[in-house]
């Protein structure tokens, strides 16, 4: 998208909703200096209002993902059924909402198609979907996208439950957890998706909780840049479901810190080629500052 595409002609300007004018004038598009997490409240974010549950950690995380995107004006998001899409679809970035679990197959075709059509313009493709969507129903496509080294980013919003259908166990639920469809507690353990990403030779893998907003944005930026230039990238984020896990809204962040400390600490697994690439990029970033 070009800036001209976005900018309304002067005659129309005042008739457009203030919401749109704000996006053009104060949004994150086409900025030499992209707004950072510390600028929150001072620029128009890609997603603001949404119909997700009050206090849901997933919404905070999604907001931060949008801030971390290196080139939002050339990004397409692919999502699927699940809570996350309620907020993602309110973002001012094209959002593909297909069938449940089809995200990583769809993204494979989309990314390749965009490369054919725009050989001189990077188009970043980012999948954002739940643990059920990616690790259960969409598992095969997730894995095969990695095996094929498809150049897009996958962000798993891991609330360890099927939130949107009312709280059933998923492959990412922990052993013993009582949930719907697991009346006696889940029989088997949480699937080691990070391990699978590693053995699939995903170039950039990160585990994260939304406790440090700047780190979330930086991780997203790294993942998207690696997918653009090097190979697949994967972020697995703990985004608790306060409804199904009965976490009182004021305690959502406390839970995030506790879980992070206990079993969801920040971790990056980066291939040598991706390390080399990121070092180069970040050196240039520093020089710019």
């Amino acid at each position: 998208m070009s800036l001209a595409n976005l900018t309304p002609s002067p005659g129309f300007h005042k008739w457009l909703p203030v919401e749109y004018r704000d996006l053009v004038e104060h949004g994150p598009y086409f900025r030499d200096k992209k707004p950072k997490v510390s600028d929150m409240g001072k620029f128009k974010e890609i997603v603001e209002e949404h119909p997700m549950c009050a206090g849901c950690a997933m919404t905070l995380f999604i907001r931060l993902v949008f801030i971390g995107l290196p080139t939002p004006e050339h990004t397409v998001i692919v999502g699927t059924a699940g809570c996350g899409r309620l907020a993602i679809s309110q973002g001012s970035i094209p959002f593909i909402y297909g069938n449940y679990g089809d995200t990583n197959a769809t993204a494979s075709g989309l990314k390749r198609g965009l490369e054919v059509r725009f050989p001189n313009q990077h188009k970043d493709v980012v999948v954002m979907a739940g643990d059920g969507g990616l690790i259960d129903i969409g598992f095969q496509h997730l894995m095969h996208g990695w095996f094929r080294q498809e150049k897009f980013t996958t962000i798993l919003l891991d609330n360890e439950v099927y939130g949107n259908t009312g709280g059933q166990e998923s492959g990412m639920t922990r052993q013993g957890q009582i949930l719907k469809m697991a009346p006696r507690g889940k029989k088997t353990g949480k699937i080691d998706a990070l391990g699978l990403a590693k053995v699939s030779k995903v170039d950039y893998v990160a585990r994260i909780a939304p406790t440090n907003p700047a780190r979330v944005a930086r991780t997203v930026r790294r993942a998207v840049l690696v997918a653009r230039e090097v190979g697949s990238s994967y972020i697995q984020a703990y985004t608790s479901c306060n409804i199904e896990y009965a976490i009182p809204t004021p305690d959502v962040m406390k839970d995030a810190f506790d879980v992070e400390k206990d079993r969801y600490g920040f971790e990056e697994i980066i291939s040598d080629r991706a390390k080399e690439f990121l070092a180069e990029v970040e050196k240039k970033d520093k020089a710019k500052k």
């Binding site: 998208m1 919401e19 309110q90 075709g109 989309l110 390749r112 198609g113 230039e229």
Partner: protein
């Protein structure tokens, strides 16, 4: 950020490699289909499909093997290697294939895939969402028995599962149709007021693996490319002003506005199917072909059953009996008006089919109900891989001339 270079030479190709597609000349599609000089070759249906694809200027093709389709997408692989197709890969299975090809189409590029019976069934959730997503894709479908018991034989029951999806659908009789319909399908599906996926079905083996005469244009000509900026809905390329409600966003609140939104979206899809008729006519002539118009005994058929019906018409003629034939070229849009006009004067209509469900018979009945006095006879039908001997059709027609006919086979 760095920018990509426009034309990278693929790995394994010499530095001066030029994609074969770049050496072809883009020509007017109507000229290509109606006027360009043709030469005839004796080739299989899969080869006819390959020759069509060669001339279709395909951007992305995604494959997955299944008999009797595999041959065609393997050939598409060779076309990719030659540089006639820009991007190609073998997907993990059919839901992956059908989702990915829709992703490619959403990027605004010309997209092709193919499958058969069980593969179509596996991919159906994805396929049935293509029309609503307004994604032009061409799906070549080489009909095959649906399990179980397991078989790989021709039987076109799977077409019945596509009838109400909002897909365009042409059903080819032979190798020639496979070639012509494929070219037409791309052009029709990408028209702005259509913007829908299109299936081209042929009956497996009878068409795909048998040889027939196919007259084709010079391979130096190809169709114009898909124009990703020209479609009923914008491509998902982030080249449009941002909006907070994106085209694919779920409008699934439980309220009346959302019901209306969904209802009108569906109405528009099915209206677009009807609108496509004018473009199919442009490329295929009429949506039906009529042999012996006005005959008292008529056969209505599509696909390979048409060939059997032609032979029945010829043999009847030898015995001095006039039998008429309506070949249905497009199943969607279904040529209701044309069929209605063509059966005026008919007393008995036979609908021979290669499936047990009789989907074409049902289509014909609902089209003609209350508008035509003829008896519409449900058959003959063969399935599970059987062939349809001409004698079967001739026997049924002889039976129909009796006072109290009883049809068996």
């Amino acid at each position: 950020m760095s920018t990509q270079t426009a034309s990278k030479v693929p790995e394994g190709k010499p530095a001066d490699w030029v994609p074969a597609g770049d050496l072809q000349e883009v020509v007017d599609p109507e000229w290509l289909m109606h006027e360009a000089p043709r030469t005839t070759e004796f080739i299989t249906g899969s080869e006819a499909a390959r020759e069509a694809i060669r001339r279709c200027n395909v951007d992305v093709a995604i494959s997955y093997p299944i008999t009797p389709q595999s041959e065609t997408m393997q050939q598409a692989g060779y076309l990719y290697d030659e540089g006639h197709i820009k991007e190609y890969y073998r997907a993990e299975e059919e839901i992956g294939t059908m989702s990915a090809i829709a992703g490619a189409s959403r990027a605004g590029v010309r997209s092709l895939t193919a499958t058969s019976g069980p593969g179509l069934m596996r991919g159906l959730e994805a396929i049935s969402s293509w029309p609503g997503a307004r994604t032009p894709v061409v799906l070549l479908n080489m009909c095959r028995v649906i399990n179980t018991p397991l078989a790989i034989q021709p039987d076109n029951i799977e077409i019945s599962f596509l009838l109400n999806t909002g897909m365009l659908h042409a059903h080819g009789e032979n190798q020639q149709d496979f070639y012509d319909y494929t070219l037409a399908a791309f052009m029709v599906s990408e028209e702005v007021d259509v913007t829908l996926p299109a299936t081209v079905s042929v009956d497996g083996f009878f068409v795909t693996h048998a040889r027939g005469h196919v007259s084709m244009t010079d391979p130096k000509y190809k169709l114009p490319p898909r124009d990703g900026w020209r479609s009923a809905v914008p491509a998902m390329d982030n080249e449009n002003p941002p909006a907070r409600i994106s085209r694919d966003a779920p409008i699934q609140k439980s309220n009346f506005i959302s019901y209306h939104m969904h209802a009108s979206w569906q109405q528009e899809v099915f209206a677009a199917v009807r609108r496509s008729a004018k473009y199919w006519r442009k490329y295929l002539g009429d949506l039906i072909e009529v042999v012996n118009p006005g005959a008292k005994e008529m056969i209505i058929a599509s696909g390979a059953a048409v060939s059997q019906a032609r032979e029945c018409v010829r043999q009847s003629e030898e015995k001095g009996i006039e039998v008429g034939l309506i070949k249905v070229k497009t199943i969607r849009p279904f040529p209701e008006e044309e069929i209605l006009n063509a059966v005026q004067g008919a007393e008995r209509i036979y609908v021979p089919e290669f499936n047990q469900a009789g989907w074409l018979h049902k289509e014909v009945c609902s089209t003609l109900y209350g508008k035509c006095k003829a008896d519409i006879i449900a058959g003959p039908r063969v399935y599970g891989g059987m062939t349809m001997p001409t004698e079967l059709l001739l026997d049924w027609m002889a039976e129909g001339r009796k006072d109290n006919p009883s049809y068996t086979f």
